[in-house]
């Protein structure tokens, strides 16, 4: 795994006693033995290149140096990728995922060109005409330009309709004139925007022939291609330091009468003709596509953050020994403590839950996209589903990464564990691409409509079909037997029960004289909880059915089933109040299920290291002194500390300058 140290005997022992073959899990997750081989080849090709490594860990650099170092590496990586493509010939689409993975490994605090491929190019594909795609997609994918996507403004994130940037069409010159009329209208946040990108897709309010037609997308050149100087009328810079993702180069952008050709408005759907007349898009549903795509990608990433954090924390816990359980015995591997298992294994399981949720979502997305030209009926359902899944999965991932970090005690607080950086990514995902509470309320709106349809006896779409069952069951709740199938249905009963309660509370408030909008706001805490319950019901069901469908050896299947059972028990016990209220589960069941969960923790214990080995993370991907394959935690921590520039000298010059005069003056 890229390390030459001998393994720590504690971790070797774990590998010897594992009851299944981790490589089988690796093949399963990669999609086959050939894919694993290809991925490993590609990872080694890039990740072992000394030019792409950091001499001094970037955590020690200044903010400016971090950025410069990231640009340097990004340019090297890009050249190397072109060479790789030449050598290996035809591009296999499955490599895209691996390349993202490689990029994330090399740029542990963010890839400064990321927005070009994840946002600029997809927006051109989604919203550009064939002619526009021919021009801009080639330039972007070929890295002749670097693009970004500028939507969010200082004053507007969630409320896109409220964006203030304007684009007025001038038919005399056939140009749009862009302006930032207020301080709050400045674009704020787009990655790559600060000092990297020279083009941006800008979301602005389109005005033509004296009418505002709402927000549209425009390609705007922001920097000179030769000099990289900001073009006239462009006010641009970076927004400053953040909790994490330090090298994404988030920027701000203001316009003062910036003119762009008419052809720079993306016109696949809506159009502005030469004379300034506006042609409306046939459907606004079409714009859902990119949002759904990005959120499915976010689920995949959330699963990765959690898998990485679990790997680091579980390997560390296998090596770290602390206290004795029985006096006089050897200190215990902390992984043997039940409380430590309870911190780590449920989130290890959650990483699988989110991964399988992402796969199911991706499959649904692919199916719907295939139908896109024809029947659009399933698009809203998928959109609403992804809203709550994005919210719940990013929340679980952030909380899980932090739990893993805390489980490593003080050492998890060090950046050499890489856990703080992972938390930076996982936590960021809770607010970008749709703030999580807003996302849940979006789903809740759909659920309220679905409830009315269910009550009205209408046909239900698959993801909310359980509402129908809840109603047809005439509220007589199912018999409770603590089985997996029963618990999965229990999650649906909880969701249905909460949705019903919300619908009733809404009606009651409206009957009391509140406007529907005020009633909505007054009920919103519970509406959020509805959407959460709906998401949990989906995740739990997909986890259980995915595992059941896998074609795997008995030994691996056993482990995967333990993980899905653990996940559903953990989730249930965390919401036991809901189950006591909305299902036939009784207090005595809670104790039994707690006991059942504890048994699974002990069953998973001998395989914990094997499971995270199965993720097959390269050491250069984990970048963690605590989580490396060899388990040589303490040596690696010391090695990491030795790289601190402060440790280059036995004392710091601040002693002579400041400290000595102070101490002497006090004697």
């Amino acid at each position: 795994m890229g390390s030459r140290r001998p393994e720590n005997p504690d971790i070797s022992k774990e590998r010897k006693t594992c009851t299944f073959n981790p490589l089988e899990l690796t093949f399963l997750l990669d999609g086959g033995r050939r894919r694993t081989k290809e991925r490993r080849h590609m990872e080694n090709y890039f990740l072992l290149d000394p030019e792409l490594k950091d001499d001094v860990p970037i955590d020690y650099l200044s903010h400016k140096e971090k950025y410069e170092e990231a640009v340097r590496k990004a340019c090297i990586l890009h050249k190397k990728y072109k060479e790789f493509q030449k050598v290996t010939g035809q591009i296999d689409i499955s490599r895209n995922g691996v390349m993202t993975h490689v990029t994330n490994s090399i740029f542990k605090d963010g890839y400064p060109f990321y927005l070009n491929t994840i946002m600029f190019a997809p927006a051109v594909i989604g919203q550009g005409t064939p002619e526009q795609q021919a021009i801009w997609l080639k330039k972007a994918l070929n890295y002749e330009i670097i693009g970004t996507f500028a939507q969010t403004e200082l004053g507007h994130g969630t409320f896109i309709r409220g964006l203030e940037t304007t684009a007025h069409y001038d038919p005399r010159t056939q140009e749009f004139i862009l302006n930032s009329p207020t301080l709050t209208s400045y674009k704020w946040w787009p990655g790559s925007l600060g000092h990297t990108a020279n083009y941006a897709i800008v979301v602005a309010q389109l005005h033509t022939q004296g009418v505002c037609h709402g927000i549209h997308l425009f390609i705007v050149q922001i920097r000179d291609e030769e000099t990289h100087e900001p073009l006239p009328g462009i006010k641009i810079g970076e927004i400053g330091t953040k909790l994490g993702m330090h090298t994404i180069n988030n920027g701000f952008l203001g316009f003062e009468n910036v003119r762009i050709p008419r052809e720079h408005m993306l016109m696949k759907y809506s159009k502005v003709l030469e004379d300034g007349s506006y042609v409306r898009s046939p459907s606004n549903r079409l714009t859902y596509g990119t949002m759904i795509f990005v959120r499915v990608v976010m689920l995949q990433h959330s699963a990765f953050y959690l898998a990485k954090a679990s790997t680091i924390a579980i390997r560390y816990s296998a090596v770290r020994r602390q206290c004795t359980i029985k006096p006089g015995e050897l200190e215990v591997q902390i992984l043997d403590y039940r409380t430590q298992q309870y911190k780590l294994f449920p989130y290890l399981a959650a990483s699988f839950a989110i991964r399988f949720t992402a796969i199911c979502s991706w499959n649904m997305y692919s199916e719907v996209i295939a139908e896109l030209e024809g029947d659009l009926e399933r698009l809203p359902e998928l959109h609403e589903l992804l809203c709550c899944l994005k919210a719940i999965c990013t929340t679980i991932a952030a909380h899980g990464v932090e739990t893993c970090r805390l489980s490593c005690g003080g050492h998890g607080y060090m950046t050499c564990s890489n856990l703080p950086s992972l938390y930076g990514f996982a936590a960021g995902a809770c607010t970008y691409e749709g703030e999580n509470t807003v996302m849940l309320l979006q789903t809740a709106r759909y659920l309220m409509k679905a409830w009315q349809q269910a009550v009205g006896g209408m046909a239900m779409t698959p993801t909310v079909a359980y509402l129908k069952q809840a109603i047809s069951g005439n509220n007589g709740l199912q018999y409770w037997d603590n089985s997996t199938a029963c618990i999965v249905r229990g999650f649906q009963e909880v969701a249905a029960g909460k949705i019903k309660q919300c619908a009733e509370n809404m009606s009651k408030r409206i009957q009391e004289g509140f406007s529907p909008q005020d009633a909505w706001n007054m009920t919103s805490i519970e509406l959020v909880q509805c959407a959460e319950a709906h998401a949990h019901a989906f995740i739990v069901e997909k986890f259980v059915t995915s595992v059941a469908e896998f074609n795997a050896s008995v030994s691996l299947k056993t482990v995967l089933t333990q993980l899905s059972d653990l996940y559903i028990l953990f989730s249930l016990l965390h919401n036991s109040g809901d189950f006591l209220m909305y299902t036939n589960m009784k207090p005595v069941d809670v104790s039994n299920l707690q006991n059942q969960m504890e048994i699974i923790l002990s069953q998973l214990r001998p395989n914990a290291v094997g499971i995270v080995d199965g993720f097959d993370f390269h050491d250069e991907t984990l970048r963690s002194a605590l989580g490396a394959w060899d388990g040589q935690v303490y040596e690696r921590m010391f090695e990491a500390a030795s790289k601190s520039p402060l440790n280059k000298d036995p004392l710091n010059e601040s002693f002579q300058k400041y400290l000595k005069p102070l101490l002497k003056s006090n004697m």
Copy 2:
């Protein structure tokens, strides 16, 4: 408040409609009008000094520069403090708290001399003989030396008895010889240790006359007073970058035959005589004192972190407008969204809960300390109580700070909000000075004993007296009426119910043949939950009784009562499963209490800004573009971004060096 900008009208409006006088709250929290005046004077004296401000926010500096800048400021601050003492004459002990507050404001990422006062000096007081105190206390408090406290090792944090550093007594020279026999025995983590301190109190295994007597404390000079070079045999450096607290200068330290005089062992209790004979301490309870003291201080700090984060998030939420509730109306202050209130107000309330818990703990501590020379009976109870309170309060604070941060959407991710830095402190507290799970298990052990005593009909100490009631009530649970008094008792019933259940599970497992130690480990998830429930019961009761006892105006008392009611309802609803299991609360009560909680949220809404104004935080303490007094969020965010060194030039040199060659090569 140190700001010259006009107030944002949205925040002025909040201040006008507040129903109570925030200044009354300020006086209450400070302990009187005179104290407020003194505090403000002191804050302005230090916080407005331009020499103590950062030209460039330290977030932009390299790790090394951050440290150097912190030492520079620390030395200036110290001189200024001496001047302040001269001018104002006699030192008022109540100023210590204010000075800590000032220091925390100036060093937003940690004060590099902190360990000298918070650990070195108290350890000398607690463990040193009068002669030792006379020498070392003067030197430390007068800043003739800078001390630190070196206990934790790379391989040992929780398990102090397992520390590996050795101190062998050599009677020929009457010296101790310190050694670090292994890599894992290196001291690791102590603040100030890296490059700042020149003395350390070192915790090491004492060996004399061939016998190991366990860990003891030794004063060790680590750097030359003239040159600051590490002394012979001392291997020292800093441990590297972390999630937060960047300028605390945590270090590592190893010993190779380092000799120190016999008199450098702290010998208030245990002693080594000249000939090497060992005199045992009369009681090991005496060492509890410092631990309890530090944990009470941590409660105070946790309350502060949460109060600061609440202030920032609530002021921002009063100014931030996003979306409309009713179409066509003005965009809404996000503080009007019920979901936003639900994120912020419970943690605002929690900051009071923790503050009052800290005050009660401090009072108990003072009482017990007053008895210390005589009756030590109450010390274990206080120690066990502080273990679970430390764990619960730091956990709530960390979670609350992060919830506040997330409630600010993307902007809370920026360091100019100061929320990431606050999270760094709050999260750090969860693992240092006793890892939280270990702390809870410590309390649980006490609770298991207490349960046996209650069952055996023995007299109970005050904090566990409720167990007796639970037993004498013959398990017939109280009638449930949703009142505050009923809920407070409900928290005790939950704790008692869980403690009873744990005791039964332990017995059952022992009867099944497991050793008591294995049974303990198997039951530990539930044992942790017992200690949590015990802590919650304590906090809730103290919050309610503290508010009831306050001598305040009706208008202020109303607000404080709303806060305590909100806190208990929020905590109950988050653990509704427990209440359904262990009290007479019924599912229908849950809906009613949810409704009651939502009403309190709306009652607190008009006073939210007033309450946080009442904390009276100086803008230089908050250091937040989102949370400043004037509410000029967007101007301040822009101003903060303009300080980024990357924004000094319109383009970065990485363009010519790296980016341009790449883009050109692709054309």
